[in-house]
C-alpha cells in the first residue's frame, strides 16, 4: 500500500463498504432484546436458538441445500463436457455453442421461471422441485462452462498430447491428465454454482410450492411479516457456513488456483 495512496485508500474503502453492513447484521443477531436495532441491547444467543428451532427455516434450509447440491452436480456434469468440446473439440460454430451455454446470464430469470412454470409445472405436472432443479441447472451452466473453460484455456494442450503419445486413449487421457488438471477449475465452478443456487430468489419465488420452498424465499416472507432479530441470526448462520466453505477451499485448493492462478 505504501507509495500507492490512491489504490490503498480505494482498497480500504472497498473493504469497508463490503464488510460494515455485514458487521451490523452480525452484531444485531447477538442482541438480547426483541427489536432488530443497532446497537444491540445486551448480548445473548437466544435468537440463534429461536432460528434453529423455527421449523420453516430448517426445512427450507434442507430444501435449499438439496437443490444447490443436485443442481451444481448436474450443471458440472453437463458443463464440463461442453467446455471440453468447445475448447478442444473440432466442432463447427464453437462460439455459437458457447454463446448458447452462456445465455442464461443475460436472460431475465423471471422469464426463465415463468417458462418453466408454464411448461414443467402446469404442462408436465411436475413438482416444484423438478422445475427448480431444471431452472437452477440452466442458471448455473454459464458458471460451469466459463470457469472450467478458463482453467482449461490455461492448461497446455501439449500435456494431453503427450499422454496420447505415450499410449493413452482419449478417454484414458481425460481421466488421468485432463481431469486432474481441471480439478481446481471444477472445484471453483462448483463453489460458485453452489453459492449462486443457494442465494437465488427470482426462480425460487416463481416456482416454489407449499411442499418445497427455499431458504432465501422463506426468509423474505418472514421479514415481510415480522421484523425481529431471528432473521439476523439466520443470516449470521448462513454467513458462518459460507466462511467455513471459504476456509476449506483455501486449505484444500487455494484461492489463487481456484480463481485462475492470479497470484501464481
Amino acid at each position: 500500500m505504501r507509495g500507492r495512496p490512491v489504490l490503498g485508500t480505494l482498497a480500504v474503502l472497498g473493504y469497508i463498504i463490503m464488510i460494515v453492513p455485514i458487521l451490523f447484521v452480525v452484531s444485531t443477531a447477538f442482541t438480547a432484546g426483541d427489536a432488530l436495532t443497532f446497537p444491540p441491547q445486551g448480548l445473548s444467543l437466544r435468537w440463534f436458538g429461536e432460528a434453529l428451532a423455527y421449523q420453516p427455516f430448517i426445512s427450507a434450509l434442507v430444501s435449499s441445500l438439496q437443490l444447490a447440491v443436485v443442481s451444481t452436480a448436474l450443471a458440472l456434469l453437463l458443463g464440463v463436457p461442453v467446455t471440453l468440446a468447445i475448447q478442444r473439440g473440432k466442432i463447427p460454430g464453437k462460439s455459437l455453442v458457447e454463446g448458447l451455454f452462456l445465455s442464461p446470464l443475460v436472460v431475465p430469470e423471471l422469464v426463465v421461471g415463468l417458462a418453466l412454470y408454464q411448461q414443467i409445472m402446469i404442462g408436465l405436472h411436475q413438482t416444484s422441485f423438478v422445475a427448480l432443479l431444471v431452472g437452477h441447472t440452466v442458471l448455473l451452466l454459464p458458471y460451469a462452462v466459463r470457469v472450467t473453460g478458463a482453467s482449461l484455456a490455461l492448461a497446455d494442450p501439449a500435456v494431453e498430447e503427450a499422454a496420447r503419445g505415450l499410449g493413452a486413449s482419449p478417454l484414458r487421457t481425460f481421466f488421468s491428465v485432463t481431469l486432474p488438471l481441471l480439478r481446481p477449475g471444477i472445484f471453483s465452478a462448483g463453489l460458485l454454482s453452489f453459492v449462486t443456487s443457494f442465494n437465488n430468489v427470482p426462480l425460487s419465488l416463481l416456482l416454489q410450492s407449499r411442499q418445497f420452498r427455499t431458504l432465501p424465499v422463506t426468509m423474505l416472507d418472514y421479514v415481510q411479516q415480522s421484523y425481529d432479530p431471528m432473521i439476523a441470526a439466520m443470516s449470521t448462520l448462513i454467513l458462518a457456513g459460507t466462511v467455513v466453505i471459504a476456509i476449506v477451499a483455501e486449505k484444500t485448493v487455494g484461492f489463487a488456483k481456484i480463481f485462475g492462478g492470479i497470484n501464481k
Partner: protein, 341 residues
C-alpha cells in the same frame, strides 16, 4: 539402409494455406535427422503428422514399413518431446517417466527399475520424487526426454526441444542428446530453426521452406554445397554474385577477404574472385572485424558484400580500411560456391 519412417506425397493444408506440399522423405533408421527451416516452413507440421497429432490431407506415412497415416498417436509407439516440456504437473518425476510404462502394464517393480534407469540416463535419478514445478527448465526438459525414451519408442521425436533453454544450457544439451542417441541407438527426428544446432547434431539435415524440402544431406555436404540461394542464405552465406552465364556464386563472409588495390593480403588469387569494391562500413565486433562493401557483379548488378575476419588474423591495412576506400573483394576458388539458381 532401412527407413524407420517414410513420407510419400504427403500434403497438409489448412483451408487455403498449404503447410506441407507433396513431401517425400525417408527417415533412416538409427540416424538423427533434423528438419531445419524458418518458422512456417512446415517442419513442425511434418513432425506432428509423423507423431499422429495431425492427419495428412493427402499421401501416406509409413512407420517401420507399416502404413500409419491414419493411426492415432497412442497406437504409434513414438516418443515425443515438446517445446513446452508438457510434463504432467500433478505427477512426480518418476510417475511422469513411468506413465507410458504403466499404460503398457509393466509390473511395478520392473517399472521402478526402468524409470530409474531412464532418469539415470539423463542424470536426474536423484530427483525422482519431486514434482515438475520444483525443477529448472533444463531439468524439466531432461525429464521429458526420459519420459519419451522410457517406452522404448520406435522413433524419438524432438520438437524444438532446446529453444526454451538459455544459450549455455542449449549447447550443453546438444551433445547430451547426441550421447543419449548413441547409447540407445534410437532413430531421432529433431525439428529446429537453429542452423548451428542442426549442423552440430544431425546425421542427416533436411532444409525446408514453404512446405517443401529444399535440400537433404549430411551437414558437411549441405553446408559446403548448398543447393540453392535459400539454403545458402539460411546457412549464413551472405555474398551473392550473379555471373555472366546466369548462375549465382556465393561466398561465406568469413571467406571473403579485403585486399587493398596496391599490396594485397595473402596474395591475389589467380583464378578466384578479385572484384573491385568500395567500402561502406568497417566495424569492430569483439572477435570479428566486419567490412561491408558494394560492388558490381559480372551481370552488371550492384551488390552488397560482407567480409568478417577474426581480429587476431587481421593485417594492419585491413583493419585500417575506411568507408569510401577502394578495395578488392577476394576469395579463393574452393571458397566460392556455385548455386543452381
Amino acid at each position: 539402409m532401412t527407413n524407420a519412417a517414410e513420407f510419400s506425397g504427403v500434403t497438409q493444408s489448412y483451408g487455403e494455406t498449404i503447410a506441407v506440399d507433396n513431401l517425400n522423405l525417408q527417415i533412416e533408421e538409427g540416424k538423427l535427422t533434423t528438419l531445419l527451416g524458418p518458422s512456417g516452413c512446415g517442419k513442425t507440421t511434418t513432425l506432428r503428422m509423423l507423431a499422429g497429432y495431425i492427419t495428412p490431407s493427402a499421401g501416406t506415412i509409413t512407420i517401420n514399413g507399416v502404413d500409419a497415416t491414419r493411426l492415432p498417436p497412442e497406437k504409434r509407439n513414438l516418443g515425443m518431446v515438446f517445446q513446452s516440456y508438457a510434463l504432467f504437473p500433478h505427477l512426480t518425476v518418476a510417475d511422469n517417466v513411468g506413465f507410458g510404462l504403466k499404460l503398457r502394464k509393466v509390473p511395478a517393480a520392473k517399472r521402478r527399475e526402468l524409470v530409474l534407469h531412464n532418469l539415470d540416463l539423463v542424470g536426474l535419478a536423484h530427483l525422482a520424487d519431486r514434482k515438475p514445478k520444483a525443477l529448472s527448465g533444463g531439468q524439466q526438459q531432461r525429464v521429458a526426454l526420459a519420459r519419451a525414451i522410457a517406452i522404448s519408442p520406435s522413433l524419438l521425436l524432438l520438437d524444438e526441444p532446446l529453444s526454451n533453454l538459455d544459450a549455455r544450457l542449449r549447447v550443453q544439451m546438444r551433445s547430451e542428446i547426441r550421447r543419449i542417441q548413441a547409447e540407445t541407438g534410437l532413430t531421432v527426428v529433431l525439428v529446429t530453426h537453429d542452423q548451428e544446432e542442426a549442423l552440430e547434431m544431425s546425421d542427416v539435415m533436411v532444409v525446408m521452406r514453404a512446405g517443401k524440402v529444399m535440400q537433404t544431406g549430411a551437414p558437411a555436404t549441405v553446408f559446403t554445397a548448398p543447393a540453392n540461394r535459400f539454403v545458402a542464405d539460411f546457412l549464413g552465406y551472405e555474398n551473392f554474385l550473379a555471373t555472366a552465364d546466369g548462375s549465382l556464386l556465393t561466398v561465406r563472409p568469413e571467406h571473403l577477404r579485403v585486399g587493398t588495390a596496391g599490396g594485397t593480403t595473402g596474395g591475389a588469387p589467380a583464378t578466384g574472385l578479385n572484384l573491385p569494391a568500395v567500402v561502406t562500413d568497417s566495424v569492430y565486433r569483439g572477435v570479428d572485424h566486419i567490412v561491408t562493401m558494394t560492388a558490381t557483379d559480372a551481370a552488371g548488378q550492384q551488390t552488397t558484400l560482407v567480409s568478417t575476419t577474426r581480429r587476431d588474423t587481421l593485417s594492419s591495412d585491413q583493419s585500417g580500411v575506411r568507408p569510401g576506400d577502394r578495395v578488392l573483394a577476394q576469395a579463393r576458388d574452393h571458397e566460392i560456391v556455385r548455386l543452381a539458381a
